[in-house]
């Protein structure tokens, strides 16, 4: 970790920009996640973008800071994502539909107006979590290995 502390002093530009950029990138990735169904975006892209933002933290501040800021085990995040993505597939089978059938419907919600709710979002959340967890597991393990 000593090396990272040295880096911190050397990379004043990276740390300064990183602090601000982090929130913008993460916020944008959330937008991408929800926009996905009808606009460019989706779980995969959003997941990669979140992973990119967190990787920025890792580069600028080191693994210790990332661990304190995001107190999740990324392996478990990836595992939850997989369970969600693969496990969702079985639910439609309970209703006699094929594996991984997606449903959608339109609802009128108070603030949002006509809103489409789709089960694809659950599946997409699985994709998102797997990508975030997977990418960061790899980056942090390789990065921390000394």
């Amino acid at each position: 970790m000593r090396e990272n502390e040295e880096n911190k002093e050397n990379n004043i530009i990276l740390t300064t920009i990183g602090k601000i950029a982090l929130f913008i990138v993460v916020a944008f990735s959330f937008f991408l996640f929800f926009a996905g169904h009808s606009n460019p975006g989706g779980g995969f892209i959003a997941g990669l973008m979140t992973a990119g933002a967190l990787a920025l933290v890792f580069l600028a501040f080191g693994g210790q800071v990332l661990k304190e800021a995001i107190p999740f085990d990324f392996k478990i995040v990836a595992a939850i994502g997989l369970v969600l993505g693969v496990g969702y597939g079985f639910i439609p089978m309970l209703f006699g539909d094929g594996f991984l059938t997606q449903y959608f419907a339109y609802y009128y919600l108070p603030v949002f107006g006509k809103t489409e709710l789709t089960t694809a979002l659950i599946f997409d959340l699985g994709v998102y979590l797997t990508v975030v967890g997977g990418a960061l597991t790899v980056i942090t393990t390789i990065g921390e290995d000394r």
Partner: protein, 794 residues
């Protein structure tokens, strides 16, 4: 429905066993025994229906598009086997309660037994060839687990592996045979296949299909030369040997031959191969049996020999011989099951299975001796036991093969009655070795334990089987109409009048039986000389050269050596070598197909005009790619790679694919970070290969060829429109069917959701493996590295 439950019950209840084993006060074998007992009771209740010529047939669709259905079918043949499986299963489980120490892993043992039982029930009740195949392989698998139950012994592991390799190999051949049958008939349904028997027998594929299916049957039923796995399988606990390797699993092959007889039988090839292999197996193994000194090995060769007898009878294919085969199958299960239990009792109570050390046990183990006597005499074919009846049928059938009215009159057929007698003489001798040799004479003082009578729980199941041997022998009518009637009808497809009597006058078969007893007694009297002759025949230089065991061992050793060589050559540890392998293969396959099918097509008609900025962008990509290859330092190479990636995402934007562009951009960024993290671990300095020029030349050739291949593929794919592209379907339906306006994303999560699921599984696996490889490295390597670093530091 209830039949399906009965077949699946062992599978469904197996998960409970480990739980019961932990929390139950009594031995877990007791509740386990209820399962086969219950199924046996259910099956017995079906008997009256089957005697009236009815069958039970239940079908569920499984993979209808491939003709694979879950159909169970209960006719006389299935019922006979199913009752053997569950009836003997009950007795064996009861026996095992007293045989196995409760400190052994009982949970595992009974789960394996139930797995086997369910698989075996599945084999005999399946009405779909693929379903049958699946259950068939499951029996091989459970047999592997049971033979290797005492896996700390290397003999057990060797025996388990041998049985698995040989039976699974046969199973695969059988599957290929089934596929050939499907190509002839267009169905996997066994009933429908049988209905097309005449079509099958006239087809060019008949012979290969028959050979392949028979391979499956012969390996499973341990016919020469595939018999070698059965003696090694005796490493299993004795209840397993009694159950799987004498009464049930080894008869799966016989079941298959019987089941396939209406579809494949009745031809010259079938007759010659099936009965030929059977009779050779019968004589050869009976001779081998008298060379053995281990009780279980003797019984194993005896089993192989008896299986050969049944196969011979099936090969003859006449109504009388089929009846004899099925009758002997039933009898053999009874007497051989009891004999195996006797062998287990002797092992258990004296600590030895070596027949040279066992003498005069009748004095201390009278009940066991009585059971062994009944079993041995039945096996030897001595009246009034059941073995006599079916052996007489065997002689009748072998004589039938010689008569000129027989359909397959063949000059060699005269050998059958002679070989039948020879085989039976040896059977008589090893039966006597087992009974007279072990139980008579002065009491042995050479065993590890002081011999004493077994507890009632051990000999009771054997006693039941021995009583069945006597009862069937004295009152064959009991099984004639009830069980054998429906069985023969199932194989011959027409009802048959069955008449079995102990006494049928002075005739040639009776004379043959008399000759067997006379010669057998004579040769047993001069046992040492007999064994000397047999040793000279079976154990010399010639037989060592053609020994199936040597063949097997050589094949395994050579395969291990060969695969090691192959791996040493291919798994170099260098990514660049792997890439060369993969790419070369891809070029050969895809390029070869393209070349030989003349798939290359090039015309400019459908091309959009190429704009200047596109040319410039592609130029940048090409220059950057070249820079990657020529760069002197890693960092430069990585940056050049980034240029390629970002330029491609620019192309995506130009061609209006925002999703692709976004993904490409972020992937490029994340990869860059990953590369930087990984570079930390690489040696500092130059990346330039210092390798040989030949390696570089190969790399250049492979990379140029891959580039050419991709270009040609892309151009051809654009020009060749052999079918309507699916794109318009997505355009029309992504809003209608999936409620999404972003087509790319709808494809990802909905239309092709399964692909995405597969991809995230890959992402997960990659992440977990990277973690495992780095974090869970073997400590020794880390230590070695530390020591190395220390040295470098000093």
């Amino acid at each position: 429905m209830s039949l399906v439950l009965a077949v699946l019950a062992p599978f469904l209840l197996a998960p409970l066993i480990p739980v019961l084993n932990r929390y139950l006060k009594v031995h877990v074998g007791w509740p386990v025994a209820l399962i086969p007992a219950g199924i046996f009771a259910y099956l017995s209740a079906q008997l009256p229906r089957l005697m009236n010529g009815e069958v039970v047939h239940i079908a569920y669709q499984w993979i209808p598009s491939l003709g694979i259905d879950f159909t169970v079918y209960l006719d006389g043949l299935s019922l006979l086997f199913a009752m053997l499986i569950t009836g003997i299963g009950t007795l064996v489980v009861l026996y095992s309660i007293f045989y196995l120490d409760q400190r052994e892993s009982m949970g595992n043992f009974y789960v394996y037994i139930l797995l086997f039982m369910g698989a075996m029930l599945g084999v005999v009740t399946s009405n779909n060839l693929i379903l049958l195949y699946i259950f068939w392989e499951l029996t091989s698998l459970s047999s592997f687990l049971l033979i290797g139950f005492w896996f700390h012994r290397s003999e057990s592991r060797y025996g388990a592996q041998k049985s698995m390799l040989i039976t699974v190999l046969g199973g695969l051949a059988m599957l290929a045979g089934f596929v050939l049958l499907y190509m002839i008939t267009g169905t996997f349904d066994i009933r429908e296949t049988i209905a097309q028997a005449s079509v099958i027998k006239g087809h060019d594929l008949y012979f290969p299909a028959m050979i392949l299916i028979l391979l499956g049957a012969f390996t499973k039923s341990a016919q020469v030369p595939f018999h070698i796995w059965l003696p090694n399988a005796m490493e299993a606990p004795t209840p397993v040997s009694a159950y799987l390797h004498s009464a049930t699993m080894v008869k799966a092959g016989i079941f298959l031959i019987a089941r396939m007889t209406p579809a494949l039988g009745g031809t010259m090839e079938w007759f010659l191969i099936v009965s030929g292999v059977g009779i050779v197996t019968m004589v050869f193994s009976a001779m081998m049996a008298i060379r053995q000194t281990d009780l279980k090995a003797l019984l194993a060769f005896g089993t192989v020999s008896q299986l050969g007898l049944i196969v011979t009878l099936l090969g003859f294919g006449t109504p009388a011989s089929i009846l004899g085969a099925m009758f002997h199958l039933l009898n053999h299960a009874a007497f051989k099951g009891s004999l195996f239990m006797v062998a287990g009792i002797i092992d258990h109570e004296t600590g030895s299975r070596d027949i040279r050390r066992l003498r005069g046990l009748a004095k201390v183990m009278p009940i066991t001796a009585a059971i062994a006597g009944i079993g041995s005499l039945a096996m030897a074919g001595i009246p009034p036991f059941n073995g006599f009846l079916s052996k007489e049928m065997f002689f009748v059938a072998s004589l039938e093969a010689v008569t000129s009215t027989y359909v397959f009159a063949h000059p060699l057929a005269a050998l059958y009655p002679i070989m039948a007698v020879v085989g039976s003489v040896f059977t008589f001798i090893y039966s006597m070795m087992l009974f007279h040799g072990v139980f008579f004479g002065p009491l042995t003082k050479d065993t590890d334990k002081k011999p004493h009578e077994a507890p009632v729980g051990l000999y009771a199941p054997a006693l039941v089987l021995a009583s069945i041997s006597i009862i069937i022998g004295l009152y064959p009518k009991l099984v004639a109409d009830t069980i054998l009637g429906p069985v023969t009808e199932a194989i011959l497809l027409e009802p048959m009048k069955i008449k079995i009597t102990l006494w049928h006058g002075f005739n040639l078969p009776l004379a043959m039986s008399g000759a067997v007893i006379a010669f057998g007694s004579l040769l047993y009297w001069q046992f040492e000389k007999t064994r000397g002759v047999v040793n000279a025949i079976t154990n010399n230089k010639v037989s060592a050269c053609v020994s199936a065991n040597a063949c097997y061992d050589w094949t395994i050793a050579t395969m291990i050596k060969g695969s090691k060589k192959l791996i040493d050559w291919q798994m170099t540890g260098y990514l660049r070598d792997y890439l060369v392998f993969i790419l070369t293969f891809a070029i050969a396959i895809a390029g070869g197909t393209l070349f030989f099918k003349q798939g290359f097509e090039f015309n400019m008609v459908n091309m959009a005009p190429i704009a200047l900025h596109e040319v410039i962008l592609v130029g940048i990509i090409m220059a950057a790619a070249l820079a990657v290859a020529l760069a002197k330092s890693r960092l430069v190479a990585i940056i050049a790679m980034g240029v390629v990636g970002y330029a491609i995402s620019l192309l995506y934007i130009l061609f209006r694919a925002p999703d692709l562009a976004l993904t490409q951009l972020i992937v490029e960024t994340i990869t860059l970070i990953l590369f930087l993290a990984a570079f930390y671990h690489l040696p500092k300095g130059l990346v330039a290969e210092t390798g040989k020029h030949t390696i570089k030349a190969i790399n250049v050739v492979v990379s140029v060829l891959s580039g050419v291949l991709i270009t040609v593929l892309a151009i051809s794919a654009h020009n060749l429109k052999s079918f309507e592209p699916i794109a318009s379907y997505f355009i029309e339906n992504s809003y209608e069917l999936a409620g999404g306006k972003n087509m790319v994303n709808v494809i990802l999560v909905d239309f092709r959701g399964l692909d995405t699921m597969g991809e995230i599984v890959v992402v997960g696996i990659a992440a977990f493996s990277a973690y495992a490889m780095i974090k869970l490295r073997i400590k020794k390597i880390v230590k070695l590295k530390e020591a190395h670093l220390k040295e470098g530091g000093e």
